[in-house]
Symmetry: C2
Subunit: 311 residues, 2 copies
Amino acid sequence: MPPHTPDFKNRLAAHAAAVEQALAALLDDATRPGELARPARLMEAMRYAVLGGGKRLRPVLVLESAALCGGNPDAAMRVACAVEMLHCYSLAHDDLPAMDNDDLRRGRPTLHRVFDDAMAILAGDALLTYAFDVLADEATHADPRLRAELVLGLARSSGLGGMAGGQALDLEAEGRYDKGQRQSLNVAETRRLQAMKTGALIAFSAEAGAIVADASPDQRKALRAYGHAIGAAFQIADDILDVEADAATLGKATGKDQARGKSTLVEFLGLDAAKAERDRLVQEAKTALASFGDKAATLSVAADFVAARQS
Amino acid sequence: MPPHTPDFKNRLAAHAAAVEQALAALLDDATRPGELARPARLMEAMRYAVLGGGKRLRPVLVLESAALCGGNPDAAMRVACAVEMLHCYSLAHDDLPAMDNDDLRRGRPTLHRVFDDAMAILAGDALLTYAFDVLADEATHADPRLRAELVLGLARSSGLGGMAGGQALDLEAEGRYDKGQRQSLNVAETRRLQAMKTGALIAFSAEAGAIVADASPDQRKALRAYGHAIGAAFQIADDILDVEADAATLGKATGKDQARGKSTLVEFLGLDAAKAERDRLVQEAKTALASFGDKAATLSVAADFVAARQS
């Protein structure tokens, strides 16, 4: 089943629709126990940041990994939503004028362009916080050990030693804190930055499905290895896309990495070698799934999908 | 033991010093398991946001509540640090030009003035995330049920239905999203806003000590009631201070509430009635502690301390 087959596309579309619905339900206006109110504008901003599109790659990884390990689909959906809220908070903050200053995201004006910087900061903060609320809630899983593991995994993959740390390294490399002098990262530093900024959360997404399914340590390790490989493949595909695609296809500005002087593996390796590494990583991801046999077919195709991304 | 006695002041100073040391240890440069790196500038910014002062009210509440319920002091210290990191992230984001635009905090330049807006946003994000990391970590408590409860309590008190939601209501009231037209909050709305913005996290701080000590439901309820009362008293004391104090005493600008047209209880009730309400809340806090007897003397004095604050 290659990534362009109707079967796979239908499955992705079904996941995306279900995730959209579940996110909308979590972010409705009805106050939950322990909440004093749900402020109207804040909820609007949070919904704008989260709803209405995106590939939903991370939720799909959670849902498919959980299904592979026999996890409860409702529990997996809550975890998928938490991971997506985390991802969307990071987009809202990264798009801010003080950060990457992007006006367009998924073909729509970015959150701070629709509201303002203050509400974009605040909605991001609230999404980040709500992700942990959702994971720690009994509704996600009866076993608190698994809930605590999910919280820890999400915090580690998205915090100072993961995604936020990767973004900080990116800002440093732009020379913001060295009198405008850009830092030249070497290839190892570039790989580490990318592993933190995008790889860690993708790897956790694949592992999170195994956690919520209370899978064996071996299964969990295999899905984490799979996630690491496709996380790295995803980033290379993104760098290739930034060079090759046009803004109309992508729904956001292109060529920005180069304009900002950001180091990418495409720049270090050249386009052909970068594509070869991407393909090698896809194979590595598939190899990690070997012990699951045919049941892992969807995740296997998802690896191809990540590498073949056009947007 | 009134709040100005040497005994109480020494106890506060000892707590503050111990919290400072524990925060510094959590925020050192040594990479922990699950972290790919600790970026130097980010860690500097996080330390700047967290270290070097503050009353440490929330950590003190955690530590004293835990001690009262027989909790492990090391576990309580980790929880105290998580709550303080959460509080300091909120200060860093609230001080941003896009939010309250403050240049001075605790008598020092605010985080974004020392670094820049991007690093202040990011360091705040990382502190928020790290708070959950610390709580979910086995090092905090062997029982995952308590860790999950701590995570849930922190998320609820600081998220969309708590602190972040309160800040959103504050921005709305300023009229930012209604063509500059300030909203007139009534007294009930003002109370709710303040209960969310500052009260919820203070109430959780007192309860968190009981959670980490695995205290009885009655004890937990009592400490939560105590926390609610002093949270409300704290806010009124803050409003009174904004009217009465001068900037030199406070270490930050004064009279800003009025300049911004923010609704406060002082404005609704007048200064004398506000002071009477503050004193009534202190009594309510002390009454909540009754079942603990003399053992709760320090928390009882802490209620006076909160009401008598000069900075």
